[in-house]
C-alpha cells in the first residue's frame, strides 16, 4: 500500500492526529503526551509574555518548533479583528503562515461565529496565510470557507471541551463528500472511539486537546488517541462490510456432519 499521508497546503504529514497544548499540568506532561500521540502538528496560542517572572518556563523550551509544526491558533478570539491581530503577531514570531482560525461567538457554548470566521478567512487568505478553519458542522458554510481560500475545513464534533463526540454524522458525511480539502474534526472528542468514528466517516484527521490533557492519565490517553486514529483510518480505507438485518454465517455448510 502507498504511504498514507495527509497533505495540508503543500506539506505532507504522516500522523493524522493534531494535538492541542493547553490545559496540561505542566510542560513536561504536555511534551510527553505530544510524543506519545505521535502528532507532528500541535496547536499553540498567542499571549502576552510574563515580564515579571523571567524564569518561568516557556513552551518552546519543551516542544521544539523545528521538530513539531506549530499551528498558531486564535483560541479565545471573539471577533475577526482580534483573530487577525493574533495571527499577524504569530506570523511575526517566526514566519508562521499555516494557522488555525477560530472565532468564537458565544462564551457559554463556545460555538463559532461563522460570519466573523468567513470574513477573517477571506482577509487572511489574501494576506498569504494558509488558513485551517474551525467551523460549525454546516456543509453550506464549509463550502463558503473553501471558496474563501481555506486550506482545511475543521468542523466541530461537539462544543469545545464538551467531550460529547460527533453529534451530526450526516453533516460530516455531506462535508466529506463535497470537499477534497483536508477535513479535520476539531473539538468535542471525548474518548478514543470518538476519534475512530471521525476517521471511519472519512475525515482526514482529528484535532484533540481536552480529551487528552484532562484525562486522568494524559500520556496513556495520547497513546490511545494515536491508535484510535490509525484504526479508524485503516478501517475507512479497508471498506467495511454491508450491513444486514439478518445473520450471515461465517463458516461454510459444506462438509457439515
Amino acid at each position: 500500500m502507498k504511504k498514507d499521508f495527509i497533505k495540508i497546503s503543500s506539506k505532507k504529514f504522516r500522523s493524522r492526529l493534531i494535538v492541542g497544548t493547553g490545559k496540561y499540568k505542566n510542560f513536561i506532561e504536555c511534551s510527553k503526551a505530544v510524543k506519545a500521540s505521535g502528532a507532528e502538528i500541535v496547536t499553540v496560542a498567542v499571549r502576552r509574555v510574563n515580564i515579571s517572572d523571567k524564569k518561568k518556563p516557556i513552551l518552546m523550551d519543551y516542544i521544539d518548533p523545528k521538530k513539531i509544526t506549530y499551528l498558531p491558533n486564535t483560541a479565545g478570539c471573539f471577533s475577526s479583528n482580534e483573530a487577525l491581530r493574533t495571527l499577524r503577531l504569530a506570523r511575526e514570531i517566526g514566519g508562521w503562515r499555516l494557522v488555525k482560525l477560530e472565532v468564537l461567538g458565544d462564551k457559554k457554548s463556545l460555538l463559532p461565529d461563522m460570519i466573523e470566521t468567513l470574513k477573517s478567512t477571506e482577509v487572511l487568505s489574501k494576506e498569504g496565510f494558509k488558513v485551517m478553519v474551525y467551523c460549525n458542522d454546516d456543509p453550506l458554510m464549509a463550502k463558503r470557507l473553501e471558496n474563501a481560500g481555506a486550506v482545511a475545513i475543521m468542523p466541530l464534533a461537539a462544543p469545545i471541551g464538551s467531550g460529547l463526540g460527533i453529534q451530526n454524522y450526516t453533516n460530516i458525511k455531506i462535508i466529506r463528500n463535497q470537499t477534497k480539502l483536508p477535513l479535520i474534526i476539531d473539538a468535542g472528542i471525548g474518548e478514543a472511539s470518538d476519534a475512530t468514528i471521525a476517521m471511519e466517516l472519512g475525515c482526514d484527521g482529528v484535532l484533540i486537546n481536552s480529551a487528552i490533557a484532562q484525562a486522568k492519565k494524559p500520556i496513556e490517553m495520547a497513546l490511545a488517541m494515536k491508535y484510535a486514529v490509525i484504526a479508524g483510518r485503516k478501517s475507512y480505507l479497508s471498506g467495511r462490510i454491508k450491513k444486514n438485518l439478518m445473520g450471515l454465517a461465517s463458516t461454510t455448510k459444506k462438509g457439515i456432519i
Binding site: G20, T21, G22, K23, Y24, F27, C30, T43, V44, A45, V46, R47, R48, V49, I51, K54, I58, L59, M60, Y70, P72, N73, A75, R88, L89, A90, R91, E92, I93, G94, I160, G161, A187, N209, S210
Partner: protein, 72 residues
C-alpha cells in the same frame, strides 16, 4: 552624577518607567527575552524584529510583547 531621564511606557497593559533613549532591542534584552521567540507590537503596529535596534521607545508608547503558550 549623571541624571538618567525616565520616560513612561505601557508594556502589556501595565505602566512602566524606563530610561530615555532605550531601543526596543535593548529593552527586550534587558528583560531576558529572545527576539526569535516573540512578536512585538508598538502602538498597535507590528514591528519588524530586524529593525528593533533602530527603534527607540518614546514617552507614552504602548508596547505589546507576545509569545506562544499552550493552547487548543
Amino acid at each position: 552624577m549623571k541624571i538618567i531621564k525616565k520616560i513612561k511606557i505601557n508594556l502589556n497593559g501595565k505602566k512602566l518607567f524606563i530610561a530615555k533613549g532605550t531601543s526596543v532591542y535593548s529593552f527586550i534584552k534587558r528583560n531576558k527575552l529572545q527576539p526569535n521567540k516573540i512578536a512585538i507590537e508598538l502602538n498597535k503596529e507590528i514591528i519588524d524584529k530586524k529593525k528593533i535596534n533602530k527603534i527607540f521607545l518614546k514617552n507614552n508608547d504602548k508596547i505589546e510583547i507576545v509569545h506562544f503558550i499552550g493552547g487548543g
